[in-house]
Subunit: 508 residues, 2 copies
């Protein structure tokens, strides 16, 4: 056990001060993002609940054996997970998704749970991946799953929920697409291309990279392998390929080129490429039934399409696979590109049988919360200006008036107005500087003079900024200030009303 | 690095199926608890926000060096934390509280943050403690802190927030008490009792155990040590004592016996025990000022008391320490006992200086969310019957009516009524059994007959249970069923109204 835990420090004496840094790939989230994320999760969970999903929470830590090795990185030495030896001598790890823990939960409680079992779960997951800009080792997922239902109707429910979740976030129809493909259709394709079983996953993962690497990149990964673009520091990393023959590769690439937007078009184009293989036929039949159910629900191809390039990198899928992509473009560095995938999932009928030996069909999807939040910001669908800011600061200039200051804060809070009572040691100037820096809208200010008149002073901290932000406004500065004075006094008993008036100037 | 990660499995072939179990000390949380917990957190955060606290999220993983060794278990081999070697070769760990990460955050962003800085944070923390019934290795905390304010006013804000948080949860005044003590008063006491510096923490931790071990237990821990009560399996564990002399021990125990309920009473009783020591005098002065501020806020001794037995086990406190206790009794096994502590905190002026070398005063508190949820359940303050249950199931008996079933579910969901569309493969009987097991209130049922009449059937799934639960109701069973039929038909277009009528019977 000793090697898995930090050695007790002996020489505590003249220790250097620790650096207040974070391990690589981790980050802190500020108030604005958190307030927006909370609202986002609330809206999506409301949709989940309307569809009859109820919440579940599993712990962050599971046995490694329980989680299984399904990540694309599973063949690397660390397997893509954070693992350590537990106090019982076995290996545990932080969960890398919410699906493996759900499977463990269902297997553990199978006798008590009624089937089908619907649940949603939200929480962080952890992956030991190479950190990239905007890509972290801890990120939040928001999952739904239906366990114990093998019907295509269940897959349709998941697709329906995803579409409604996007619309609950005010992502307009046409700006998102739920893209569907089928693992068994892909298996049929692989059979046609005579891909041997041990190459199935490497080939699927190569196909999955079309978005990122383009057709030539995928061709290289299916063939001899591919070297990353080098940097000033030297040559890029080499990824070994699947070593397929050229005619095998062309069979696979022809599939990727099938129509990506319609549903009937997909079925017609793909049929000749997989027909006659048992998996291919079964997959196509399920997709045809899914198409009919989606029609019955009024989910047209403006919302749900079949797309041959949807593959999904995780090893456990067995049926329909889905991905929600945002179709609008965003600036990324110098170029504009489609925002891309914000959710994914599919059917995984064998995951619970790992534990029980008994097949329990299951289907679900996972929304990448952080990606989606970035998307909403890019779409301008969220209010980033005042999110996470406190509207009112009660300044505390005069120690002898402490009782009053507390009473004002108390009154504002009781009226439901978020209020900070200044507790620092700064003088007037420092307190205003602080108010400015932290973005309050109103400062309540009063010294002995106002008090003796039975008044309090209110200072509008945003007005100056708004006036200096716009030239047009600034031209009428004087007139504005007459209408909306930057600072004014109200009788003590009108404190709450006065504060509300200033907040109302900014729609708060 | 290899020793810190699980070895790649070579012999994958005939592997045994994994057991779907959880590592010791971890648990799953079912829907009912989660719905209640979410509502609890929402209400408390609303109070936090009203007091001008904004949210922050730090990651689960931090460098061990960053977290520091402040846990009561810090002197044990594993230090009470889950740690492993990171891919940069350093030790990282799961956070054991939210205070150490906050200190790291403030030190890291000191230049950008305006002071005082108020934040709240909620999330899981992890401790490698001996699991006990109701005590887990992963649990949720809900923290507030004010950083950069050394004033007693800041401590009073924290206390005020805690009292308001309890009341927002409908814990009546009188059923909770915020208990305050002061580390410097305790230091003064230790100086009086001539406790040498290296024994400070062991002595404080012994005093902290009064609640659990009683006066004799604490006396033993201050003296030669204490052996746990043995079990059938053998002798209990021995905890070494602080080896103080009898007169030292009696000085300390006299302090614990000071009045615990009032505030003036505490000050008068404690003064002679610590007066004249620099720490004792400073601590008493701060408590006297705190008493005045609490009076100004109208926080009487029905809500906030000074209590000499509040010590807090964490090593980093430097000033006022607080604990919120629930004073009502609960059954625990055969005995009734006071529910006890649900939140704690205090002032920790040196924690940020660990990083920066510069003193940054700070004060805060942490609510133990799971303990508090247990308390609310014991108080009957939360609705545990229908929490996390879905009200409506649309059964799907007849495959040829699939389009209709989907349309009904769609309509109910659009009306905001959480509805499950049955996606399993069970027949009529199985679907009703399922409905019963999962606690739906209404089942929507219809076959070809109803359809041809343009009707749907609604089945009240709770009525039978309510009638069989109460003998009184059962006596009038027939009359009840006339008034509230267990199953009835409504015209297709009155589906939503009909479902609402049944739900209204149960106040949903």
């Amino acid at each position: 056990m000793s090697e898995a835990h930090p050695p007790a420090k002996k020489k505590q004496k003249k220790r250097k001060r620790p650096d207040p840094r974070l391990p690589r790939g981790f980050r802190d989230l500020p108030p604005g993002d958190l307030v927006l994320r909370r609202e986002m999760i609330r809206r999506v969970c409301e949709v989940y609940e309307r569809y009859g999903f109820t919440p579940l929470e599993t712990p962050a830590v599971e046995y490694v054996e329980t989680l299984g090795k399904f990540l694309p990185e599973a063949d690397q030495p660390d397997g893509g997970i954070f693992a350590w030896r537990y106090d019982d001598g076995e290996w545990v790890a932080l969960r890398y998704d919410l699906t493996a823990p759900l499977s463990r939960y269902v297997a553990k409680n199978f006798q008590e749970l009624g089937m089908p079992f619907r649940r949603y779960q939200t929480g962080p997951v952890w992956r030991l991946e190479k950190p990239e800009p905007g890509r972290y080792r801890e990120f939040v997922q928001l999952d739904i799953d239906i366990v114990g239902a093998g019907s295509v109707l269940a897959d349709a429910e998941v697709i329906d929920v995803l579409a409604h979740a996007m619309e609950a976030l005010e992502i307009p129809r046409g700006s998102y697409l739920v893209c569907v493909n089928h693992r068994r259709v892909l298996n049929g394709l692989l059979e046609r291309a005579a891909v041997p079983p041990e190459k199935t996953l490497p080939v699927l993962r190569a196909l999955d990279k079309l978005d990122r690497l383009g057709l030539d990149g995928v061709r290289a990964l299916l063939g001899p392998g591919r070297r990353d673009q080098g940097s000033a520091a030297g040559e890029g990393d080499f990824t070994p390929g699947a070593d397929l023959a050229p005619e095998q590769i062309e069979t696979l690439l022809a599939f990727l080129a099938a129509p990506a937007e319609g549903r009937r078009g997909y079925l017609e184009a793909v049929r000749p490429l997989v027909e006659g293989t048992p998996d291919g036929d079964a997959g196509l039949a399920e997709l045809a039934e899914l198409d009919a159910i989606l029609d019955e629900r009024g989910l047209g191809t403006d919302r749900v399409v079949f797309n041959p390039t949807v593959v999904r990198g995780l090893g456990y899928y067995t049926g329909a696979v889905v991905e929600v992509v945002l179709t609008f473009e965003v600036e990324e560095g110098a170029e504009r590109r489609r925002f891309g995938s914000v959710a994914g999932g599919g059917r995984y009928d064998d995951l619970i049988a790992r534990f029980t030996g008994q097949k329990v069909p299951a289907t679900g999807a996972s929304i990448g919360v952080d990606r989606l939040l970035a998307a909403l910001k890019a779409l301008g669908k969220v209010e980033t200006d005042t999110a996470g800011k406190v509207p009112v600061l009660v300044t505390t200039m005069d120690r002898s008036l402490r009782r009053e200051y507390q009473a004002w804060a108390d009154e504002l809070r009781a009226a439901g107005i978020a209020t900070e009572l200044y507790c620092g040691s700064g003088n007037v100037g420092k307190q205003f500087k602080y108010a400015d820096r932290r973005g309050f809208t109103v400062a309540v200010v009063a010294g002995g003079d106002e008090m003796s008149r039975g008044e309090v002073s209110l200072k509008d901290l945003r007005l100056g900024k708004e006036l200096s932000r716009s030239e047009e406004l600034a031209a009428d500065r004087k007139q504005w200030l007459e209408q909306l004075p930057g600072q004014f006094s109200v009788p003590r008993e009108r404190l709450v009303d006065g504060v509300r008036e200033v907040l109302a100037r900014y729609g708060r």
